[in-house]
């Protein structure tokens, strides 16, 4: 069975993409979940649309606008929420809307027929080019390196920012680094697997992992493993039933999440008796 599935290069690529994505999404998702900024995946992806619009307007490859635009958005969101006492969700929502509006205006300014530029932004796990696999691998390595180097700093700013500042950390700068890492993950992953799957993979595995973990590294490892499991199972099911792969992976993850919640609920209920 498995052999048949992996006779196709696109399925091999999809599996590889899923596994590689799991690493990035599990690790970054852990920070997203404990910092309660699940909103950021949608926010960055849609802010990036402003970059697409700008690239299109300037007549360059629209994709060139994406990474600078989303990094700038991440920095601005971080500065707003740290220096401006704006809640993250508000800052993200503002950039989401403004980014999209900028994109729409740029497209309107450029004469000529306007294609649907969103397709530049959103990928699908079944159409991952080999080149993109290398990109995710690079992203994984970058994330692992930065998170490994800054593990204690990231933990400190996630849990108790004031004490981190008292301890002499550059909390704002570190937070910006974290946000840039998140933004990078989002734009790269969105192109590879699509926005919906990015939201799912950044949220669900880490949320389940948090229920089971007492430390951040433990949560990361569990999130990566869960994410990989959901992806493999989802891919396999989607092939069996011939249904959309991304959607199947998400439903597998969502189902597991509800299962975990139900189990937790039942177990506290039984204990609470």
């Amino acid at each position: 069975m498995l052999q048949e599935i992996f006779a196709f290069e696109f399925m091999r690529n999809a599996l590889l993409a899923a596994l590689l994505s799991s690493v990035a999404c599990g690790v970054i998702g852990t920070y997203v979940v404990v910092k309660k900024i699940g909103f950021i995946s949608g926010g960055i992806a849609h802010t990036a649309f402003g970059g697409i619009g700008l690239g299109y307007y300037l007549g360059i490859n629209p994709l060139l606008g994406v990474i600078p635009f989303s990094l700038a958005a991440a920095l601005a969101i971080g500065l707003l929420s740290k220096k401006g006492k704006v809640a993250e969700d508000t800052a993200i929502g503002t950039f989401w809307a403004v980014g999209m509006a900028v994109g729409v205006l740029f497209i309107g300014l450029k004469p000529g027929y306007a294609p649907d530029l969103f397709s530049y932004l959103f990928g699908n796990i079944l159409t991952v080019p080999s080149f993109d696999l290398w990109m995710i691998l690079l992203l994984d390595l970058l994330i692992l390196a930065v998170v490994w180097l800054l593990s204690k700093e990231f933990l400190a700013i996630s849990f108790d920012e004031e004490y981190a500042a008292v301890s002499g950390l550059q909390t704002t700068a570190l937070y910006l680094v974290m946000l840039c890492l998140i933004a990078l993950t989002v734009v790269v992953m969105v192109r590879v697997v699509g926005i919906v799957m990015v939201i799912a993979l950044l949220t669900i595995p880490a949320a389940i992992a948090r229920m089971l973990s007492r430390s951040l590294p433990g949560m990361m490892v569990r999130a990566v493993v869960l994410s990989a499991l959901f992806s493999i199972l989802g891919l396999w099911l989607s092939f069996l039933l011939d249904i959309a792969s991304g959607a199947t992976i998400i439903l597998v993850a969502g189902f597991s999440f509800f299962l975990a919640q139900g189990w937790r609920f039942v177990s506290t209920f039984l204990r609470g008796r």
């Binding site: 404990v34 204690k152 933990l155 400190a156 004490y163 008292v166 002499g168 973990s213 430390s215 949560m219």
Partner: protein, 222 residues
């Protein structure tokens, strides 16, 4: 020796349009153990936050270890009055205490065995061995208070700033904490904010009262 560790000179602080500190002049010397008392809203927490560099002064000057606040984080330990945190955050008591070693480490440097040992020692001092692997979200009020003290001690500071560290701590632990501070007072400079004047007066080397302005011996260096 009487090197001043903290020097405030006509310090004033304004928050949200309110003068919270006004013309505070204070010097705390090496080895001092200063009790800081005063009514609620008197500005005690604010003074500590200025010394830590968390709040900006709007007038006057402050120097800590002869430099601007925030210059020597590794020499200062801090026990905040309140901790705003997420109860579901996956962090154990041990890890939280280990955070006290943060200021001793460089960027990118990982905690090593020595850090872990110091953290465990601090846990022991605060009587938290039993709870070391507990998620902090499940601690009782006093247990959390002790954890914060352990965190400050783990950093082996020269200057210890404690903001009502015994507010919700049981009497036995309170004694333990006072004794602990007594033991360290040769090595340490301590500023202890408290409302428990009766409790601290036998331990501290001087008491200052803060109610926007400071009522205290002008220079309490010994």
């Amino acid at each position: 020796m009487t090197t001043p560790v903290i020097e405030c000179n006509r310090l004033s602080v304004e928050l949200g349009g309110v003068m919270v500190l006004d013309g505070v002049t204070l010097s705390v010397c090496k080895g001092d153990y200063l009790g800081l008392v005063g009514p609620n809203g008197g500005g005690k927490t604010t003074l500590l936050r200025v010394i830590l560099g968390l709040e900006k002064s709007s007038g006057g000057s402050v120097s800590v270890f002869g430099a601007l606040p925030g210059s020597f984080p590794e020499r200062i330990g801090y026990v905040p009055q309140r901790l705003f945190f997420d109860r579901e955050f996956p962090i154990s008591v041990r890890e939280l205490v280990l955070m006290g070693r943060l200021s001793k480490k460089k960027l990118f440097q990982h905690f090593n065995r020595i850090d872990r040992e110091k953290a465990d020692a601090a846990l022991g001092v605060a009587g938290l061995e039993r709870l070391a692997d507990r998620r902090i979200g499940t601690l009782s009020g006093g247990e959390l208070q002790r954890t914060l003290i352990a965190r400050a001690l783990a950093g082996e500071p020269e200057l210890l700033l404690l903001d009502e560290p015994t507010a919700s701590v049981d009497p036995q632990m309170k004694t333990t904490i006072y004794d602990l501070l007594d033991n360290q007072k040769k090595k340490l400079t301590i500023v202890l904010v408290s409302h428990d004047i009766g409790g601290i007066k036998d331990h501290v080397s001087g008491i200052a009262t803060l109610n926007t302005t400071l009522y205290a011996p002008r220079d309490i260096c010994l």
